[in-house]
């Protein structure tokens, strides 16, 4: 990858590779996350991340590229949890717990059977965008393009399924297929982002920008757009802060903390705005508020 003439802190080649990877994550993670939040599956990314860790362990043990073994494990795990969820064989949180503990335990066992915990393994757990190779950046961007292109192409149908599954089923939409597709896209996003923010933090980039955007957006389309803007801003800002801080900081954690900071600021500002608009202080999303006719 050619080095560009960018200002500090993105002046060096490794920072530019990290920047491209972080921008990709900032786009595709919230793009699929906005649907997960509506489905009340905010933590599914975490569960799939744990399964992906088992894939990392399998890849390291077998000597294969961990990115692709993690992808195989994550896709399988995501389809498994969707199968459980759709058939209500168990509740959503129990299914997630099964994924959490089985995945992380299998990963630890597989890694211990090989070389044991190393810096390489820790980079998958906590993220290390500063060390991604050009071929890994290309893979992250490619997977991100797959996620974003699919979301953009099918967003109407996916919106319908996550907002009203019963109606969508009656309307003849292939609800099961679309739910499985969203699960697979989540798995792809988790694996693509794991080297940047880490398996343990990847779900944050799917949830925090969306949670912030929902407080200010006035449409689903706006929510999607603002989520991506916040995601990219947090990724770039976090990466910059991590490098500029004396002695350096862990970029994955810094990126997530910036996203969390954005959430706190947006929550505080939007609360002030809502209270200023409504003297009684009710929230627009407050359940059980009395009916209020608007403009009719």
């Amino acid at each position: 990858m050619a080095e560009l003439a960018l200002p500090y802190p993105f002046d060096l080649g490794f920072m530019q590779r990290a920047l491209l990877a972080c921008i990709s994550v900032g786009v595709f993670a919230p793009a699929i996350g906005v649907f997960l939040v509506q489905k009340r599956l905010s933590l599914i990314g975490d569960g799939i991340g744990h399964v992906a860790f088992a894939g990392v362990g399998a890849g390291l043990l077998a000597g294969w590229a961990p990115l692709w073994t993690a992808l195989a494990f994550a896709v399988g795990g995501s389809l498994g949890i969707e199968w459980f969820r759709s058939r209500r064989r168990t509740s959503g949180d129990v299914a997630l717990a099964i994924l959490f503990y089985s995945g992380i335990a299998l990963g630890v066992v597989l890694i211990s059977a090989g070389d044991g915990l190393s810096a390489n393994v820790l980079s998958y757990l906590f993220g290390q965008p500063l060390t991604v190779r050009p071929d890994e950046v290309r893979a992250i961007v490619l997977l991100g393009v797959v996620v974003v292109a699919t979301v953009l192409a099918l967003r109407r149908a996916m919106f319908s399924v996550v907002t009203d599954e019963e109606w969508s089923r009656v309307a003849g939409l292939p609800v099961g297929t679309l739910n499985s597709l969203m699960a697979v896209l989540t798995a792809v996003a988790v694996v693509a982002a794991m080297q940047i923010v880490g398996i343990l933090l990847v779900a944050a980039m799917m949830v925090l920008p969306v949670a912030s955007a929902q407080m200010v957006a006035r449409s689903f389309r706006g929510s999607l757009t603002i989520s991506v803007v916040i995601g990219v801003s947090a990724s770039v800002g976090g990466l910059a802060v991590a490098r500029m801080f004396p002695g350096g900081l862990a970029p994955g954690g810094t990126i997530v903390l910036v996203a969390a900071g954005v959430f706190v600021v947006v929550a505080a500002v939007s609360r002030m705005f809502v209270h200023a608009r409504t003297p009684q202080g009710w929230q627009p999303d407050e359940p059980g508020r009395p009916p209020q006719e608007v403009g009719s």
């Binding site: 509506q38 009340r40 192409a153 099918l154 109407r156 149908a157 919106f159 319908s160 907002t163 009203d164 599954e165 019963e166 109606w167 969508s168 089923r169 009656v170 309307a171 003849g172 939409l173 929902q214 957006a217 006035r218 449409s219 689903f220 389309r221 706006g222 929510s223 627009p284 999303d285 407050e286 359940p287 009916p291 209020q292 006719e293 608007v294 403009g295 009719s296």
Partner: protein
């Protein structure tokens, strides 16, 4: 009140020539070992406005779910456009308004976005919406009186306005069959009149069939062709006038008469 005294009516000859859009024959279903519906016969034809009423727990919503293919009957058959509901892939002819749409109160979706989903029933859900589709969405929103609020987030509207948005979503597919489950619950009087006008337009101008499930029929009492009374099985199937003759005070003037009468059914 002894429900066995009610007298189901034979099928109306006037509708015999029209296409059957929705039907049930000998439908039986239950949860666990207990049957909640037994031997239910029902039909809705093109151009017909049928109201399905019954007391709480009478099986109305279960019957709807059977008719729409969400549940499989223990016995008997359901027909949607003349076929088993599960085999009807493209459902562009069907408009459906569920009882309580399960939307997150934090969802920042506009009325226009919700109603636009109604165009997905044309079977081409993976394609962008056509210009004709966008026009129809605008018509559907206007028909329920929400044109001025089309770009407003749904969670900023009243319960009645939200329900009108879901009714518009059903209208957006230009349905030949409209199925509504308690659509006017919580809807103010002005909205109910707008809702009634939209239904009458759909039936008279487009020849659509309508199955309306409701506790009370005051908003549409003058327009309903048949009233079907359900309590585990069909207790009555006839005109509103015949139902009034069975002892219901009125369907339209005193809106509480029908609910009280229904709850007295044994």
């Amino acid at each position: 009140m002894d429900s066995t005294a009610l007298s189901p009516m034979p099928a109306d000859d006037e509708r015999a020539g029209n296409e059957e859009l929705l039907g049930a024959a000998g439908l039986t279903f239950g949860y666990g070992r207990d049957a909640v519906l037994e031997n239910v016969d029902l039909s809705v034809h093109a151009g017909e406005f049928v109201a399905l009423v019954g007391p709480n727990g009478s099986g109305k919503s279960t019957l709807l779910r059977l008719l729409l293919g969400s549940l499989q009957p223990w016995a008997g058959e359901a027909r949607l456009f003349g076929r088993p509901p599960g085999s009807v892939g493209k459902r562009g002819q069907l408009g459906y308004v569920p009882q309580r749409p399960n939307l997150s109160s934090a969802l920042p979706a506009t009325v226009h976005e919700i109603v636009s989903a109604g165009r997905l029933t044309d079977g081409r859900w993976w394609l962008p919406m056509s210009r004709a589709g966008r026009d129809q969405v605008g018509h559907a929103i206007a028909s329920v009186g929400l044109a001025d609020l089309a770009r407003r987030p749904l969670n900023e509207l009243s319960g009645g306005q939200q329900q009108r948005a879901f009714i518009a979503r059903a209208f957006a597919s230009e349905p030949s069959l409209l199925v509504l489950d308690e659509p006017t619950a919580g809807v103010d009087a002005a909205s109910q009149r707008s809702f009634r006008d939209s239904l009458v337009h759909l039936i008279r101008e487009h020849g659509a069939g309508v199955l309306l499930v409701s506790h009370e029929l005051s908003a549409v009492a003058d327009d309903v062709d048949r009233v079907v009374v359900l309590k585990r099985t069909i207790l009555f199937d006839g005109t509103p006038a015949d139902l009034v003759a069975e002892g219901v005070g009125s369907l339209g003037v005193h809106e509480e008469d029908l609910p009280i009468w229904l709850e007295q059914l044994t």
